[in-house]
Every structure is written in C-alpha cells, then in structure tokens.
C-alpha cells in the first residue's frame, strides 16, 4: 500500500498539468464533467459558526475526481471533522459517479448522479443537505458510533444562457443501515465569469480568472417525517472561484442560514489541482499501450 502511494505521487510529479475553467459551486453540480483521463485532487473545509447551544466545528474533506470517459466522471471522498471542546474524528468515505446520458449540448443538460456513502452520523461536511437539518449539537462520541451506509441519487439539470450557468439538483437519499424512509434535498446555482474575453497576457488577477455566483441549498424532508420545508435547514451562499495558476484554483463560499436549523453560517473554502493525462500515464505504468 505504501509503495502504491509513493508511485501515485511520483506519477503526479512527472506529469504535465493543464487548466480548465472550474465550476465555482461547492454544493451544486452543473453538467460539466471532468475531461477524460484527467485527475483532479481537491481539498475543502466546511466551518460551522455556532449558535449559543452549539460548538464551532471544522469538517475537511478530500476529493479525487477522475474523468473515466467523456460522459462519465468518478469521484472518491475521504472526510473528517473536529469540534471545539470535543474531538476530531474520521467520519468516512464516499464514492460518487456522474453520467451524462446525452452526447451533445442542449438547452437543458441532464446528468445522472449516484453515490454510495459509508459515513458516521458525525459527518459535518454538508456536501448536500437532505431531510431535516444535520445534528451539530450532539457530542462526537454519540454520533460516531452510528454508521450509515447510504445511497444517494441526484438529477442534475444545467444550462448555459449567455455565459451564465444555471444549475439545479434534485437530491434523494436512502439509508440502507436502518429502516428510514427516503430523504430529499435540493441545490440551485447561478454563476458567470467576471470577463468573457481572454486577454493575451499571462496574468493571475485578470477578471477572466474569476467566476462568481450564488447557490441555494437545503433539505426537503423525508417520506418518514413528511416532505416539506418545515424544520429543515436552508442556505443562501455566494460563491467565488479564482484560477490562481494554470492548474490550480481556490474556492470560497460563505453560506447564510435562512432558517433556525443547523449552523447559522457555513464558511466553505477549498483548493483544487488538476493533473492532465493521468489516465494514460497510469495505463502506461500498468503496462498498457497508452
């Protein structure tokens, strides 16, 4: 396993890097998949600003995203969290797949999303919000002992209108570990680059390197407690991404709660690094032709 990890990092070091315009959203998905053969390594953190009866927490996660084909992207997550005055725990892993059923660009572009989650109740990354509100008040020792095996599906609809991206996700999640019903959630986002014409100069602070937008996300209840927005968490979150170099970007999003559930403010930030041609290099390494 250690040799595999060393080989993995050597592979990355010896590889060309490239840049693609990254989506600024942190919760919402649009229809743009990872380019085939490219690997993106991302690290994000969700920080929860507490209410009077809560504690501050930071929940980091790491994503490894790979473009399997032009219409299929696969992603693996590792996540954890640390709560002030409590403990820091590893909260589990996830494996997601996104697939574009249609070959060409259309006015509305659907993407099908399926994810398996092996996480504990202590998970606080809030990559999506489903059902009611996440439990951010109970101690980690209570939450960590409850493990969940969950399947999550999303219908992603996304459109490009005059350089604006408009994306909507309908989310449904089923906990396979317990006899809970289906939980539902949503995410909607709008974003646009600050400049649509690229300058000839190589520049870090050009407006074309920034994409700004806003996303809304929240829970829609469950089949067990009733499908409604009652007692559920909802957030509005401005989003900003900055392409800091040819292969790296920084993302920032402060989410403001619209209801009294969950944390009142979620500060999210992340860094992503894209490695081009990872697939062909790995294939060579494994003895393939390419």
């Amino acid at each position: 396993m250690r040799r595999l990890a060393v080989a993995f990092f050597l592979l990355i070091l010896g590889m060309g890097v490239g840049m693609a315009q990254e989506s600024p959203y942190i919760v919402t998905y649009d229809h743009h998949l990872e380019e085939p053969g490219n690997l993106e390594i991302e690290t994000y953190t969700t920080m929860g600003i507490p209410r009077s009866n809560q504690s501050f927490y930071a929940a980091p996660w790491m994503e490894i995203e790979y473009g399997v084909t032009g219409r299929w992207t696969s992603e693996f997550y590792l996540e954890g969290q640390g709560t002030a005055g409590d403990s820091a725990v590893f909260t589990g892993w996830r494996w997601e797949n996104r697939c574009r059923p249609l070959k060409r660009e259309h006015w509305i572009n659907p993407v099908l999303y399926l994810e398996y989650e092996n996480t504990s109740e202590a998970s606080r990354i809030q990559k999506e919000i489903v059902g009611g509100a996440p439990d951010v008040e109970s101690p980690n020792s209570d939450l960590q002992s409850t493990k969940n095996h969950e399947l999550e599906g999303k219908l992603i609809l996304s459109s490009t209108v005059h350089d604006w991206n408009i994306a909507g996700n309908f989310i449904t999640e089923k906990n396979l570990s317990r006899g809970e019903g289906f939980e539902f959630g949503y995410a909607v986002g709008f974003s646009r680059p600050l400049a649509t014409l690229a300058s000839g100069a190589s520049c870090r602070f050009c407006r074309e390197n920034f994409i700004a937008g806003v996303e809304f996300y929240g829970g829609l209840g469950s089949t067990e407690d009733g499908v409604s927005v009652h007692d559920t968490a909802h957030y509005v979150a401005p989003v900003l991404s900055w392409q800091v170099s040819e292969n790296a970007s920084i993302h920032f999003s402060p989410g403001i709660a619209l209801t009294g559930q969950g944390s009142p403010v979620l500060i999210r930030f992340g860094y992503s690094y894209e490695v081009r041609g990872f697939g062909s290099k790995l294939s060579q390494w494994l003895g393939g032709k390419h």
């Binding site: 060309g16 490239g18 840049m19 693609a20 315009q21 989506s23 649009d30 743009h32 380019e35 085939p36 053969g37 790979y66 473009g67 399997v68 084909t69 032009g70 219409r71 299929w72 696969s74 693996f76 892993w93 494996w95 574009r100 070959k103 060409r104 660009e105 092996n118 490009t160 005059h162 350089d163 991206n165 680059p193 649509t196 014409l197 690229a198 300058s199 000839g200 100069a201 190589s202 074309e208 040819e246 081009r276 041609g277 697939g279 062909s280 790995l282 294939s283 494994l286 393939g288 032709k289 390419h290």
Partner: protein
C-alpha cells in the same frame, strides 16, 4: 473497512485501465454541425488582437491532445488542426465542435468556456493555417 477501501481502489484502477483507452483518431462522419450552427460567423473576425487570448486558451485547453503547434498527438489520436480537412470547415462548425465535443471519441466539450473565448480559439485555429503555410513557403 480496509477490505472495502481496497475493493474501491481496485474498481477505480480497473475503470482506468479498461475504459480510458482512446480509439484511433478518424474523422467521425457523424460529427456534423447543424446547418444553422455551421453558418454562424465569428463575432471576433474583425478583432485580430483577440488572437493572442485565443492562443493562451489553446495552450491551456487544447495542447494536451493537439500539441503546441496544433499538429495533433498521435498517441491521443487527435486531429492535425492545420490540415485542409479541418481548415476548410466554417468558423461556425469549429465553434460548434469545440462547444459540443465528441465525447465518445475522446474530444471533450468546452461549453464551460464563455462563448467569446470559444470564438477566440476558432480565431487562433485560423492562424495555425497561416503559420503552417508560411513555414511551407520558407522550406
């Protein structure tokens, strides 16, 4: 838990090994722009200063498969963008192909780039033809 992690890792490696192979490049007869898209004119055609931005975008997004000079990398089965078979296509056709890609043949969609930036790339592709012709004359 460890067994599940190993299983997930092997599944990803198998995906990589089996599914990331590109097919040999051939002009896809089914990759045709609709007539209304093919007839679109480049809004930047009269703005030669935009070529520099197009070059930058080309180097960021296209050289991985098409090479620095647009000649196309054999191992990627990518088109030589200087060839008449490419250069004779209309601006609108090239724009449509950049926008939609041909995902089943390894060409990704670049619809995530703003529309003007895709037109800038088309503008730069035209300059590849000119530079390739001037090199041929010098030789």
């Amino acid at each position: 838990m460890t067994a599940l992690l190993k299983l997930a890792l092997w599944i990803v490696i198998l995906q990589v090994a089996v599914l990331s192979q590109n097919t040999s490049y051939q002009q896809d007869p089914n990759w045709l722009a609709p007539s209304n898209a093919a007839s679109r004119a480049n809004p930047l055609a009269q703005r030669p200063e935009a070529v520099a931005g197009g070059q930058k975008l080309f180097h960021r997004n296209c050289v991985e498969c098409h090479g620095d000079d647009g000649s196309g990398l054999v191992k990627k089965h990518a088109a030589d963008l200087r060839l008449p078979i490419v250069q004779q296509q209309t601006d609108g056709t090239l724009f449509w192909k950049i926008t939609n890609g041909n995902p089943d043949r390894g060409m990704p969609s670049f619809s995530k780039l703003p529309e003007l930036q895709r037109w800038q790339i088309v503008l730069y592709l035209r300059s590849l033809k000119a530079s390739s012709e001037s090199r041929a004359k010098q030789n």
